[in-house]
Symmetry: D2
């Protein structure tokens, strides 16, 4: 059974490639951020509106392993599942190249909420998101 | 009748927004570049492979008018048509917000080819692309 | 005599180069934006604080001519002067490669102010900036 | 005694901030990459020239802890030291806000070399870089 709860298909944009002819590493972080925000959107939460309400979900720590670089023209799927550990939401985010499903990158992203600048738990996020145990 | 010959639907990614809460201007240039490259792809040309063959399509000059800023969550469609003027390929590229089709930005992008570093005409591009008179 | 009233020395960062091995065009827009904001900073204005006060300086239209591409390792100087035309502040921004001062790009950037979302004139900007006639 | 062997002073550019009004996380990866490449430059190695010789230094894995977000106008210093572990060069890279030297982010970046596409050791890098034991 699939452990992932959300996925988003994307395609490399040429400006994301650097002088090595492969996607620059920082863009994998962008792909993962966009996937998290689209997951939030899919459960009815807007990252931008949270910010306007004084609630900022921020990344406290991340680890990304880079397996196979994406190149110009590549399509890929970005998948995630998440766990709730104390005050943290831990996103497990993996990218797979299409159509061969070769693993591109694996990330573990610890996020926390700042409510008016202070660490806290955002009830709306906790209620609407789905966690693995 | 529609003057555009290619269009691509896209969605704002939150990392593209800046501290004003709207898409940073440079990203419209990215959107337009990606649309041009996807148009090339649709007629069987790879921007990356052209580069490997020593043919670099480059922007010589661009003018962009910014009409309505895109925000977090916005979807939009990026459209283009082009003209062949002497050695130049001139792309007319317009972005429209969805679903209200409000004009976001209008661009005119003059591109030329460098063949092994020298200005020249790329026959493959001229043959495969479709021009307005 | 030099027409420019502000200049900023910068160096290409490798992640700004794309698969053609030269700085991606959108980054010239970034360089010019950063130069404008540093110019504002030099006359005592913070772009971010303006935004917090409900005053957003935005680009209405820009034209950039690309003359000589920057590459990995290049240093360059970004210069500007500006004119006040009606409600617009028009920035003339040119980039020159160091040390040979070859022209990299020339931009004309029309900016306007939105005050609480409406076009208007920001007195603080008009008073503190220096205009060519 | 200071463990760092290289440092680079930088300033936040407004386009690096996102809709939360703080530097977008992916830009810390950019700052760290640029610092590594400037360190290489300081010991006589060009990342771009290595690539042209068929030697690509790539990131295999990274961990970044985000401590204090940078904001518009902030200056900071990016520091690094490195270790040689088997075939890997492990960069320890920390960012500190100026002038209060508050820790902004801490990164551990594992890099390896691909020589004509195969994992290998680049003698030039090993000889010219300085490692902690």
């Amino acid at each position: 059974m699939d452990k992932y709860i959300f996925e988003l298909k994307m395609k490399v944009r040429d400006y994301e490639c650097d002088l090595q002819g492969i996607v620059n590493n920082a863009n994998y972080q962008h792909y993962m951020e966009h996937t998290r925000h689209e997951y939030l959107h899919s459960v009815g939460i807007s990252f931008a509106k949270l910010h306007q309400q004084g609630i900022d979900a921020v990344v406290a720590r991340l680890t990304i392993s880079f397996k196979t670089p994406l190149q110009s023209g590549d399509e890929f799927v970005s998948k995630l599942y998440l766990k709730h550990e104390g005050i943290k939401y831990v996103f497990y985010q993996d990218l797979y190249r299409l159509p061969d499903m070769k693993c591109v990158a694996k990330g573990v992203i610890d996020t926390v909420c700042l409510i008016n600048g202070r660490l806290g738990e955002c009830e709306e996020l906790t209620q609407k998101m789905t966690f693995h145990e």
